[in-house]
Amino acid sequence: MTKVAKQIVVQKKEGLHARPAALFVQIANKFDAKITVKRDADEVNGKSIMGILMLGAEKGSVIIIEAEGKDAQQAIKELEKIVESE
């Protein structure tokens, strides 16, 4: 099983607030891979809006996205676009 992890700096001006979180989860749910997002000591399900919001990831914060499954590579590629866009 492919497992991919990527560390990303949040570039969104207002951080991962409700709308980007919803978009992130929408994209994450397209994939079979298990998706986990980490920030400091918190680790949440990347397919849950509440999980992503809980991280309170503001601009400049560092998160790690992990994907595990056969489409993991593609999942990370699409998800990092959301976090890195402004």
Partner: protein
């Protein structure tokens, strides 16, 4: 940031009467007006801002929870209202489930940081099913305040 720092104690509705999206938002805004947190003259403008935000995508975040929110110059600091619906409200949630727990937030325009922190705080507490279920079982505002305060103190 604690929830009780921004939740208006007088804007806690244990039994929402309304059952349509816009009506529930009005009901919650009215509770903030009655509580003295929002000037009556700003009521319509605030409701419009909240509905406009909903039109960009529902603020129902799953697990029966919605966090309608807007930025507005009718407040000088972040303020929130809370409401429970016994029968559930169709809020166009992404998971298709009705919403039972509402947390409405109004933030001043320059408050990106505190707004994000409030969303994070609400999500952190409300992802706990036991907490959500205890809240939904509350019959009055005092019970709701007590349960949220207790949870707020835990972490």
């Amino acid at each position: 940031m604690k929830i009780m720092d921004f939740l208006s104690k007088k804007a806690i509705l244990p039994d929402l009467r309304m059952s349509k999206k816009e009506d529930v938002i009005k009901e919650l805004v009215d509770s903030l007006v009655s509580a003295g947190d929002i000037e009556k003259s700003n009521r319509v403008r605030l409701i419009e801002a909240l509905m406009e935000r909903e039109s960009l995508g529902s603020t129902a975040i799953g697990q029966g929870i919605a966090i309608p929110h807007a930025k507005s110059d009718c407040v000088s600091k972040l303020v929130g209202a809370f409401g429970l619906s016994k029968k559930g409200v169709d809020f166009d949630s992404l998971d298709g489930e009705p919403v039972y727990i509402f947390f409405l937030l109004v933030a001043p325009h320059d408050s990106a940081g505190s707004h994000l922190k409030a969303l994070a705080r609400i999500s952190r507490l409300f992802r706990d099913k036991y907490f959500r279920d205890s809240l939904r079982g509350c019959e009055d505002d005092k019970g709701i305040t007590r349960i949220i305060s207790q949870e707020d103190e835990k972490f």
